[in-house]
């Protein structure tokens, strides 16, 4: 039933309702929406890759600060201790609850750090435009698409805030640099996820 006369490369199908649209050239920062269901079709952002690369490098540094600098101090009846984010995993591993350790390590370290490193590899490859680097761009982007939905840093931040409120009645909490680095990291992550569309990256890969 294929209609041979359709210019397939000049068309785009809405990912929510499957309606075909003509691709029109957009200006910098403009977006195209589906005329039937209102979902975002695609957008144009001329320096999306440069900007995302810069923000990814900043995020990686903030990720290191958040995990390696003191996160917060907890004072229960004069019993004061300073906590590092990375030591929560160590502390979990002292329980005999292997699922809890895996969940903690995955959601706190492995997935967020993995996504950042994959982003760094992909974006620097696309930015530098060198042949050996771009060879794996497809595989990188596929992997990012699979892992990214499970990146829950911003939800974890809300969890930290709820924990602080819960502990406030029995302990005195002081926030340190690691915590603020984490807040900045979440803000940047949210910003990057709203500017960077996978479609844009796929088109960049297609050009190579």
């Amino acid at each position: 039933m294929l209609k041979q006369n359709l210019p397939v490369d000049d068309l785009i199908a809405c990912h929510s309702c499957d309606l075909l649209h003509d691709r029109t050239t957009l200006g910098d920062g403009e977006k195209a929406w589906c005329s039937r269901c209102g979902s975002l079709l695609y957008r144009t952002n001329n320096n999306a890759i440069e900007m995302s690369l810069a923000l990814t490098i900043a995020s990686l540094l903030l990720f290191l600060f958040a995990h390696l600098l003191p996160f917060l101090s907890i004072d229960i009846d004069g019993n004061k201790s300073t906590i590092y984010l990375i030591s929560t995993i160590d502390s979990l591993s002292q329980l005999d609850n292997i699922l809890m350790v895996i969940a903690g390590a995955l959601f706190l370290v492995v997935i967020p750090l993995g996504v950042l490193l994959l982003d760094l590899l992909l974006l620097s490859a696309l930015y530098s435009n060198r042949r050996p680097l771009t060879l794996f761009a497809r595989q990188l982007l596929l992997l990012i698409g699979r892992v990214a939905p499970w990146n829950m840093l911003e939800i974890f931040l809300l969890g930290v805030l709820v924990t602080i409120v819960k502990l406030a009645s029995i302990a005195e909490i002081t926030l340190h640099q690691g915590f603020w680095a984490f807040v900045a990291l979440v803000m940047i992550n949210l910003f990057v996820s709203t500017t960077l569309e996978p479609e844009e990256l796929w088109q960049a890969i297609d050009k190579h």
């Binding site: 269901c37 019993n79 929560t88 002292q94 969940a103 903690g104 809300l158 819960k166 029995i170």
Partner: protein
């Protein structure tokens, strides 16, 4: 808005937009995407069945997640079991109203809303109803976006378990509900990932 000449879907035109990368291409059986190499489908395979299966799994896990304690606190030999609801009531009684509301919405309202919306949309596909499709699509995208926020309580338990260890006097242990709840959230996310909104529009 991008123009569309004729109200034609990719499927009606014999085309398929890759589910992974979005590339539009002719679709014949047993094809792989020309751009990313993923298997090419016009609709997600067994979307309705998979979505139901994960939703039922989530619903089953929702029971132990709410009945069992999510954590046990021990202070000087005194053990105290905390359920999710108990934790919310405690926060409310501590006058931490905004936080109590956040946890209530994340742990109780969002999962229930997700069960309700996904099952209604799956029923609509099954019955061939086509109601207000734009609203249904937007509702689904909203549910899909807020789904992971239910994980807050699991993260709180992970943090409390880890933090209190340093305190000395008290100790917090995760309860069976913590993993049941995490499993429930993951199952609802998988249910949403399996759901194909295009099937709603196919009834139009």
């Amino acid at each position: 808005m991008a123009g569309h000449r004729q109200a034609l879907t990719a499927r009606q035109a014999g085309l398929a937009a890759c589910h992974v990368c979005g590339k539009l291409q002719p679709c014949t059986a047993e094809r792989h995407c020309v751009r990313c190499g993923s298997r090419l489908y016009q609709r997600k395979p067994f979307s309705v069945q998979r979505s139901w299966a994960f939703l039922v799994t989530a619903l089953i896990l929702y029971v132990p997640a709410n009945l069992y304690p999510i954590m046990t606190t021990a202070t000087l030999g005194e053990k105290d079991d905390n359920t999710i609801i108990g934790g919310i009531i405690l926060l409310w009684s501590m006058k931490s109203y905004p936080v109590a509301v956040i946890v209530f919405v994340a742990s109780i309202v969002i999962p229930l809303l997700k069960f309700l919306v996904i099952s209604l949309l799956l029923l609509a596909i099954w019955k061939g109803h086509s109601g207000r499709l734009s609203q249904q699509t937007r509702l689904f995208r909203f549910i899909e976006y807020i789904g992971p926020w239910s994980m807050i309580d699991v993260f709180v338990v992970i943090l409390l378990v880890a933090l209190i260890r340093f305190g000395g006097i008290a100790s917090v242990l995760p309860g069976p509900a913590a993993m049941a709840f995490a499993g429930m959230v993951i199952a609802t996310m998988l249910s949403a990932i399996s759901f194909d909104t295009r099937l709603l529009w196919d009834n139009e």
